[in-house]
Symmetry: C2
Subunit: 147 residues, 2 copies
Amino acid sequence: MLEFRTGLRRFVHWSEQAAAAAGLSPAVHQLLLAVRGSSTPGGPTIGELADSLVVKHHTAVEAVDRAQRAGLVVREGDAQDLRVVRVRLTEAGHARLNDLTAQHLDELARLAPSFAGLWANLDSAGHTGHTGYTGHAEDAEDARAAD
Amino acid sequence: MLEFRTGLRRFVHWSEQAAAAAGLSPAVHQLLLAVRGSSTPGGPTIGELADSLVVKHHTAVEAVDRAQRAGLVVREGDAQDLRVVRVRLTEAGHARLNDLTAQHLDELARLAPSFAGLWANLDSAGHTGHTGYTGHAEDAEDARAAD
DNA sequence: TGTGTTTATATCGTCATACGATATGCATCC
DNA sequence: GGATGCATATCGTATGACGATATAAACACA
């Protein structure tokens, strides 16, 4: 489990470094990914982005602010519902993102095999008596091993 | 890929909520896990912890400071090398951590199946022509799909 | 033994980012 | 056509990460 956590951290950390090297803050990078990954016609709304990034909407607002200031996305008002704002990638945004995506696919391909093994372990660990949370510290040694 | 990222985020976010509910800041929670997970006899050093958490050593120092102030770990000087400090969990630290670990195993067991599927996809995506990073934005559509 | 280099830990100031509380404007529904 | 609710935006605050820097012990070696 510690191994799993550390592996995850290493990937996230690596990803942030790569983004920084391309001149993107981690948050903006994630935002661009979320915008590109959206399947909503006309582009995602702020609320959808917040959901996708698992943050509150005002956090998404700030990320869009920064990305827009950097010229990577644009806000576009929705014609139907004047409350909603749709976010679209600019050409610059696309270009910046494509550079990073290729690198990420490579890195993930490199990591996937080791992670797959860890998942298998976690999966079986989950079926060996830990499915009932008691709130007590009855089996510290067992927990430590699993972790 | 966006799905993968979002899933990861959801897990991390969930984990932070669970830690907060137990009165632990995310950083301290991760620190306790790293201390417990260490196999170094006598307990991990600050440097080992920093490595395990994938942060700079002064970031680990701060986390240990906070955890120590909360009574969850103690610093112990090394007898051999007077420069190094070893970190050990207190009883309170163990107790707090055990509460959380049981929950985490449950949650991971719940998530493992869906993640396993995503890994399989990523694994194959990595072997279909993306192993050479060109630095150009030649195949935006392909990248978007993979992401 | 003395001096320079490396290693481990700690301190300081700063920055990015997330949050809660709150505000504003538009939509929708009796 | 008010009441109610939702999408977006603003403000102040807290956490946590970093680079630069400091201190002290260990080590290397003349």
